[in-house]
Symmetry: C2
Subunit: 609 residues, 2 copies
């Protein structure tokens, strides 16, 4: 530290750094904040003083106050100061229209240096060219940057809007435990060793699922929580070991009630945070349609390019590639890229590469010229087939039809990815549009080839549709006969009372109507290959609760981190979390996780092996 006199107390601020306007001119004010920028101009020192609320220009002039000017000469960026002076109009021609305080400056009469700062490892600017690791290491400095301040402020605002909305609808915010029972089903639990109970462990919640259902059994009727959840998974770019969920559950309701409540919430958020009016009710699309038309269970509907299945149209052609694929059960599907018939050979090659990177083996194209289709492969198809192809895609002159062939189990994913890439590459996505929709009628179960059994697509508490319970009954009969699960078992036909809310291709919420009868819950467990004993051990308390009068109930959960990321236009959820972990689940700022003392482990009856 230099010899500057640093004080423990400065004068209390009268205003924040974003507050002063022309109407404050001649007022004596005190500001507290950080030295954002310092300029020395003709023997006068100018600084921008910064706090959370904004920036204000402060002037230190030797002719006005020599001693204060001398102190100011020592100021460096990020020093913390308390400065007092008179608000003045900035001289003609020097006002800054981009700054709310840009008409005024404070002519300093007094200056107290509250803390000095070393030179930061990176500049505290909106845009910085710094590795994320360095930003995370010095997170306290990174968080001073305006985009981070704005992101966390928006996050705060969104949380308050959500709570006010739900409070207004008689929802109760009820805290559920963080130290709960480990019932791994799906993701891995984070465990917490018990000191008092040797060899026993708590688990951190992957979600408050069982507790919120218990609260419905308790008659709380409408519950919500903005709550941390934990999953010990190998992290992908967009995942964190701890994440925040807006968790909502309601009793005596059906799907329509959840839709209405959630649409109101989204509408309110858009209005209050972005000033945008969202039209409700939102459109709905079945899972089947989403997958077969858009190749995704979270379709981005800001643009078209729907997938068409032309397998039957093209069946029986002389085009070997398609015909042998069709014969072996594959499909031929594609999209119609409007107005791109003029692509060059080189561009076609690029599109082919793109299709391959999405999983296709190759790409067949047809340029739409008037009423006819032109392509090196066109000669292998009958005139009638080409006519029907033209019709199927409702093609217009100048369009470009792109086809691939693959087995049913893979082609939709391929074309889903391809469609998104085409949308980006050809500028088809209107960034100002907000395409929200419900995806409904999810399958109840999905086959796990590894485990040779079915897993819950949503979770084991999701109700099948009433008319599909018979599929569970049939499936269990088939299982009893075959003594093992086969992927073609009848349970595969059961659809769930589950729904996802999708915004511009992102799943922002998901939920379901729950099972509320112990018998049906037991049936579901059986379909998942969970034995009565295992179900009893893991979920016995929930099954038992259901015996004492469980109401019909259901809910939905929003991924809050992702929602804030999308609302703030951030690139990563790490930019909307104050202290995120890296992809190896580390905190670079404080070095967590770290080693603990031998004593701590002995108390927990644990040994590292």
């Amino acid at each position: 530290m230099s010899e500057t006199k640093v004080s423990l107390r400065g004068k209390k601020r009268t205003h924040n750094c974003g507050e002063l306007r022309a109407s404050d001119i001649n007022k004596a004010v005190t500001l507290n904040g950080w030295v954002d920028r310092r300029r020395d101009l003709g023997g006068v020192i100018f600084i921008d003083l910064r706090d959370r609320y904004g920036k204000t220009q402060v002037v230190f002039a030797p002719q006005h106050n020599e001693s204060v000017y001398q102190v100011a000469k020592q100021l460096r960026g990020e020093d913390v100061i308390s400065v007092s002076g008179k608000v003045e109009h900035r001289p003609e021609g020097t006002t800054n229209q981009n700054l709310p305080t840009g008409e005024v400056e404070v002519l300093a009469d007094d200056l107290v240096i509250l803390n000095e700062a070393e030179t930061p490892p990176f500049p505290i600017d909106s845009d910085i060219d710094t590795s994320e690791d360095l930003r995370l290491r010095y997170r306290y400095l990174d968080l001073r940057r305006e985009p981070m301040q704005r992101n966390l402020t928006t996050r705060h605002k969104m949380a308050q809007v959500v709570r006010r909305y739900l409070d207004g609808l008689d929802f109760l915010e009820i805290e559920t435990p963080f130290l709960m029972k480990s019932t791994p089903e799906g993701a891995r639990d984070y465990l917490v060793p018990s000191r008092i109970h040797r060899g026993k462990f708590y688990a951190l919640p992957q979600s408050p699922q069982t507790y919120k259902q218990i609260l419905m059994v308790s008659g709380f009727d409408r519950y919500f929580q903005i709550v941390k959840c934990f999953r010990d998974e190998d992290l992908r770019a967009d995942r964190q070991p701890e994440f925040t969920q807006i968790d909502i559950e309601m009793s005596f309701i059906q799907e329509e009630d959840i839709y209405k409540m959630a649409e109101g919430l989204v509408k309110t958020l858009f209005k209050e945070v972005k000033g945008i009016d969202i039209k409700t009710p939102l459109p709905r699309m079945s899972y089947d349609e989403a997958v077969t038309r858009y190749g995704s269970d979270k379709p981005d509907l800001r643009f078209g390019l729907p997938i068409e299945d032309v397998t039957e149209t093209l069946r029986g052609s002389e085009f070997k590639v398609f015909e042998s694929a069709i014969q072996s059960g594959s499909l031929v599907c594609g999209v119609n890229l409007p107005g791109q018939a003029g692509v060059s050979r080189k561009q076609i090659d690029e599109l082919t590469e793109l299709a391959k990177s999405c999983g296709a083996a190759g790409l067949v194209y047809f340029k739409v010229v008037g009423d006819s289709l032109e392509s090196p492969t066109a000669k292998h198809f009958s005139a009638e087939q080409l006519k029907q192809l033209h019709e199927k895609f409702s093609a217009n002159n100048g369009d470009l039809i792109l086809l691939v062939t693959q087995p049913r189990g893979r082609i939709y994913q391929t074309l889903g990815l391809f469609r998104l890439e085409l949308g980006k590459r050809f500028g088809l996505i209107d960034e100002n549009q907000n395409a929200l929709l419900w995806v409904t009628e999810f399958p109840l179960l999905e086959w796990s080839e590894d485990e040779k059994r079915f897993a819950a697509m949503h979770h084991p508490f999701t109700s099948p549709r009433e008319e599909d319970v018979v599929n569970l009954d049939n499936g269990l009969k088939e299982y009893a006969e075959k003594k093992r699960w086969l992927s073609e078992n009848s349970v595969n036909k059961a659809r769930a009372r589950a729904y996802d809310l999708v915004w511009n291709g992102n799943e922002i919420a998901g939920g379901s109507i729950r099972i509320f009868h112990p018998e049906l819950q037991q049936k579901m467990f059986s379909c998942l290959g969970i034995s009565k004993e295992e179900a009893e051990k893991k979920f016995g308390f929930l099954m038992e609760a259901f015996k004492y009068g469980a109401p019909p109930h259901g809910g939905i959960a929003f991924g809050f981190d992702r929602l804030v990321m999308l609302f703030t236009g951030s690139k990563s959820i790490r930019d909307v979390i104050a202290f995120p972990k890296t992809s190896s689940a580390m905190s670079l700022m404080d070095d967590a996780p770290n080693e603990v003392s031998r004593d701590q482990l002995i108390e927990l009856h644990l040994k590292v092996i």
Copy 2:
């Protein structure tokens, strides 16, 4: 399950069970809820249908609808039903003024049984005579009881009021991590083993202390969070392994700013939750005064009985017990119990026993009769001493002065407990009063006889008063000379910029102005016997953050569980927590903690020993 047809869907409710009034008569309505009580009267079935919002009487009359009546005959308590019918006025003389819906009843036209209930292990009544263990085991049923519903509803309301208040003052709610670094200092951390980083652990936060300070360094200026904290301690009656804190931190402030903000919060809570106007600013009392006058750092000021020190008044008497105690450095202190001079010998014996149970060796009493003091011991004191004793206690005719002698280090605790017991026993406590006060000027450090060093009374980040920094400097010099810490070291004189908020003898909040200069923080660590290396290892990131421009800051935290307990008049914090743990940190409902699979432990590189 009986043969009753249970349905997956009932009719959607048009009203809740607390809503119908005389103005709704003749409306066709549908209610959903639980069968609270059933009575069969003269061939007609009456049930009270219950939900979170209230109860409504439903009538099943065979002459009105025979088939519905037949279904209703099967109804049992806690069955979940959907019932439709017409709202009617209750017959003359049968209205219930105690029930908001007591003027009406619903004559049932339709009944769907949504779920049947087994007989609950205890009645769902407001008052039940059931062990707490059984209540916790069947928490979902316990939570149906009206007092529990009311408690959690009040808790919800308080959380919203707190957030709205702080949001209105520009505080930002910022989430801090749950998976953090283990830095045990004081209580034991709950640890979370890392799977990816063998042998390393996260810790669950005991409080977000370091993070909120980091947020101040980041310029967030005003932060709050209603947040779970964790301490792995041997539980006392009023403690939980996980508890909730209203955590608040501000920059560029002094004590007065915290007081004002916190008083506003408390005032708002009292007004909005209890409809009570609290007068602010609240009174303040130094720690020294609280201890010497009330024998507690959280004095209950709903009644008087201040402690008076009469050591000097009585020094030199012929009463051996006191004189030898005084000679050996003990104090003689006591309280004046108004109007109790008429106590019997038996009552004096009881009071003596009470004093002993509070830690005293014995009790000396003086009955105030007119201007004189009567007591078997009176003859051992001079007339002047008795006169001064009388004056010291401002005694009135009929009062009873009670004295004890003990060393200075123990007498205040003894008399603090004794005072509280007297207050209860003699009905001196006005239960309708709300005595709030600040206790200030806490000692910075307290001597640990076990460890032969000083520990932080609040926490190591609490700032000493500016004028007391010199005591740290002197103390460190003395330590350097003596090479070891002694209890009479100068640091013992340092007072902290710490404060507690006390309500009727309960500490409801505590906080401090923090150290914000790295040098002073290092000095504080030295006084705590924390080496530079240890400080660097544990709090290096905070010390480093302070080098880049930390603002003056401070904060306060409210114990939210206890606050809700006090606001709801509950006897235990377990009655205001949805799913609490027992005193051995177990959840009786779901049996957490539990054993986990071998695979889970192997993945975590752990072995139970």
